[in-house]
């Protein structure tokens, strides 16, 4: 019998490893799944220059009084390009202004990117040093936030938007907020 116990050793060790790995994978450890501390809170205040100097800067005051979508992107970011068409669709189908914030991107690159891909954005803020991104607590690009009419953050998505999520999650939320 004692001998048998020894043969059980591998499975016990496996259980231990599995338990640790299981905890390690729990969503609370995944930075992109962090429920943003901002949800239910007012949007952080910030002030950025804009890509088009004529539009005169982007700050939290631009969001006042309407439901808005804020999208962090960058010209060097692959998934951003993937979700780009959906941003057009989002703005059109749900009739919301989409504000873009270019994260740690050279102005010339952002301009080239927008020229190439078209602009779904009402305004594009330039967050070259990434400070505003830190205030929003983003962990990477793309990230998307939805703000209600009072400028309260209602939703955060720390990954590219996909069609399913747009129809199933973001769309209904936008409708209900409006």
């Amino acid at each position: 019998m004692k001998k048998r116990l020894l043969y059980l050793l591998p499975i016990v060790l496996l259980g231990l490893f599995a338990a640790i790995a299981w905890i390690g994978l729990s969503p609370s450890r995944d930075p992109s799944a962090l429920p943003s501390a901002l949800i239910g809170k007012p949007v952080p205040s910030f002030k950025l220059t804009t890509l088009d100097p004529a539009s005169g800067g982007l700050s939290q005051q631009d969001f006042a009084g309407k439901v808005t979508v804020v999208n962090f992107f960058a010209s060097w970011c692959v998934p951003c390009k993937a979700e780009h068409p959906l941003l057009f669709q989002l703005g059109k189908d749900y009739n919301v202004p989409v504000y873009g914030i270019a994260f740690q991107d050279q102005t010339a690159d952002t301009a080239r990117y927008i020229q190439e891909m078209g602009s779904p954005y009402t305004k594009i803020g330039l967050d070259q040093n990434g400070r505003t991104a830190i205030d929003f607590g983003i962990t990477g690009v793309p990230e998307t936030f939805i703000l209600d009419k009072n400028g309260i953050v209602r939703y955060r998505l720390a990954m590219p938007i996909d069609a399913d999520r747009l129809a199933g999650e973001i769309g209904p939320l936008l409708k209900s907020l409006q």
């Binding site: 809170k41 007012p42 205040s45 998934p79 740690q104 400070r131 505003t132 830190i134 607590g137 990477g140």
Partner: protein, 166 residues
């Protein structure tokens, strides 16, 4: 009978050999864990308790914007690593990784010299610009930046205020 005796002796030998080896391995591992493991510090950790001179540590945070300068012969680079609450000046001699950028997260490995400067032996930046090293994210979270607004206090930090923290 003799066969069984022999088998028993053989088993005993094997058991003794494996236990001895296991003991040696555990001993070595424990020793290595005591003296050869590198701990991770955030700038705020260092502000609280500076690691001993010569102790190799990893330091993680953001490269403070505007802090990167070259000194001496031009091959030594000095920059500040910040978690937006505290900063640590780091000097590094060598070629910076391709993705080293101001405002970007970094992890540096190095130690305090006897003259009080933090000298990096290695600057690590992952080859992916979307990436924030988890230790850096952790450090930023700990320094309170990511819990901003949690207690209902409105968020009012501007970029200028953030970088002016000592």
């Amino acid at each position: 009978m003799k066969q069984r005796m022999k088998r028993k002796t053989l088993r005993l030998y094997m058991l003794v050999a494996s236990l001895c080896l296991l003991g040696v391995a555990v001993g070595l591992t424990l020793y290595a864990f005591q003296s050869r493991i590198v701990f991770f510090f955030s700038p705020s950790d260092i502000a609280k308790e500076r690691p001993a001179t010569g102790q190799v540590v990893r330091l993680g945070g953001l490269v403070e914007a505007g802090s990167v300068t070259k000194t001496g012969d031009g091959a030594t680079i000095v920059f500040n690593v910040t978690d937006l609450k505290n900063t640590v000046a780091v000097s590094y001699r060598g070629v910076l990784p391709d993705l080293f950028r101001e405002g970007q997260g970094v992890v540096v490995e190095g130690a305090y010299e006897s003259d009080g400067t933090f000298s990096a032996s290695e600057v690590l930046a992952k080859h992916d610009e979307k990436y924030m090293p988890p230790e850096v994210a952790e450090a930023l979270k700990k320094s309170g930046r990511w819990q901003e607004g949690e207690n209902g206090t409105p968020v009012s930090t501007t970029p200028a205020a953030a970088s002016s923290n000592p």
